[in-house]
Amino acid sequence: MQFDLSLILSGKYHDWLLSGLGVSLALTGITLLLALPLAIAIALCRLAPIKPLNWLALAYVETIRNIPLLAHLLFWYFGAPELLPDNIKEWLYSGNIEAISAVAGLTFYTAAYMSEDIRSGIRGIPVQQIEAARAIGFGFMATMRLVILPQALRITIPPLISQTLNLWKNTSIATVIGVAELMYQAQKVETDSFRSTEAFAFATASYLGVSLVITLLAALYHHRYPVRNV
């Protein structure tokens, strides 16, 4: 069978694949926006001077990280919404429940990993800075917000970009809950045309291309803002 490039450069299949790429990018973007603040909150909970909060955050991170993402997504799609009251459930189901479940699953999953990176970043700041801030009268939150986090986030950016790379690839798993992202559309093209090579070549090139762009951003960032010795 010949490789027919025109199939993925124009026409119906091209449109399907392109819409899949758009959905994958949107999933990544929305999840990133939601996961980052959640990850910071979890990292702070793990370091806060309140024991029950530490345990809660630890339990969250370990539970999420030790269950495969596939199971997470199936749970957020087939399991979790069923626990809601009927009227909320019906309202959810009348909308795009596939995408909502995928964003929920990906956000909780990604935030667990990101929170660990942010926690390492915070621990990378010498403890004397915390002591100094506390000594001049800052509380825990003020110390974090004004002294520690601005420095910690800066050294955390490279691992966070690497988590974004993982997130971008992880969106492909949303195909199992019927989200019309890139892998879903590639499989649909395959089913419709039997042109597996072309469909997955497009998907492969897209994942690789976007991943390389993210990696490039990481390299640029590292060049522009090298980690300072603190």
């Binding site: 019927g178 879903y184 039997f194 597996s196």
Partner: protein, 277 residues
């Protein structure tokens, strides 16, 4: 623009369906390794599914696989595969034949060969009565659930072009989605659909199998292209089953009134590998 790619490039592309490997003679290969590998779904009662008591994969197509292996004089081995992986698995030689609820259609004839049709069925739609839908045409603009990689989605799109189709990895998930209210309809092969409908028990009163079929489907055993010896052998086994009356018995065992599917009569014979075009 058409580009012919080198073998190297093709090998680099993950998940690509590579043209069938050039085996000299598949039948002697099967005899040499002493086993016939049948690709089955294992999730599609009654064709191939896990028996809850024995935890083994059994079914109509499993029995056919066993009969074919017996005829060759080798051990049958079942390999569970996903709906969308069926044809690539066969082409790449990871299974010897496909007994995997495989629809015989014109588009697939270019890729693989088919045995005599082993089952003739249609595809149907199950809806909740509360949706008020009584006719296939009313699915327009509505969310309809089915499985990935099969003929269900293309057939539904042909019947109702504006339906919003959502697909999952298994038919069971699509059926679960309907029960949970994630779509108004669930499309599947008649046999699987009626089987799932039967499992609803008392809740059946809330559901409706739409009267129209989306299509007529012939299921057949998938055989790699260019293996006439296998096709002759498989067709021979199927013809013998029909002649001896065993095919009728198999139908009654898996599809008949005492099975979960409760088909009252068998409306087809295993005698043709031609399909309507």
């Amino acid at each position: 623009m058409r580009i012919r790619l080198s073998h190297l490039t093709i090998a680099l592309i993950l998940g690509a369906s590579v043209a069938s490997a050039a085996h000299a003679d598949q039948l002697s290969d099967i005899k040499k390794k002493g086993e016939l590998v049948c690709g089955v779904l294992g999730t599609d009662e009654p064709n191939s599914f896990v028996d809850p008591k024995t935890r083994e994969i059994v079914g109509y197509e499993v029995d056919l696989c066993n009969d074919i292996a017996q005829k060759i004089g080798v051990k049958p081995v079942l390999k569970q595969i996903a709906v969308a992986a069926r044809i690539p698995e066969l082409q790449q030689g990871r299974v010897d034949i496909l007994t995997a609820s495989l629809t015989h259609n014109k588009e697939r004839e270019g890729l693989i060969d088919f045995s005599l049709s082993t089952f003739i069925t249609g595809q149907r739609v199950l809806v909740k009565k509360s949706s008020g839908i009584t006719d296939v045409a009313q699915l327009a603009g509505k969310k309809v659930l089915t499985v990935k990689g099969g003929t269900q989605e293309p057939n539904l799109k042909r019947a109702v072009p504006t339906a919003d189709v959502v697909t999952y990895e298994t038919t069971v998930q699509a059926f679960l989605g309907l029960q949970q209210g994630k779509g108004v309809g669930y499309v599947d092969d008649e046999a699987s659909l009626l089987n799932n409908y039967a499992k609803l028990g008392a809740a059946q009163k809330d559901y409706l199998v739409l009267p129209q079929s989306l299509s007529t489907e012939a299921l057949a055993i998938g055989i790699r292209k260019g293996e006439p010896e296998i096709k002759t052998l498989v067709d021979g086994v199927l013809r013998d089953l029909e002649k001896s009356g065993d095919a009728q018995k198999l139908f009654v065992k898996w599809y008949g009134p005492n099975s979960n599917l409760k088909f009252q009569t068998r409306t087809f014979k295993i005698d043709s590998d031609k399909i309507e075009g």
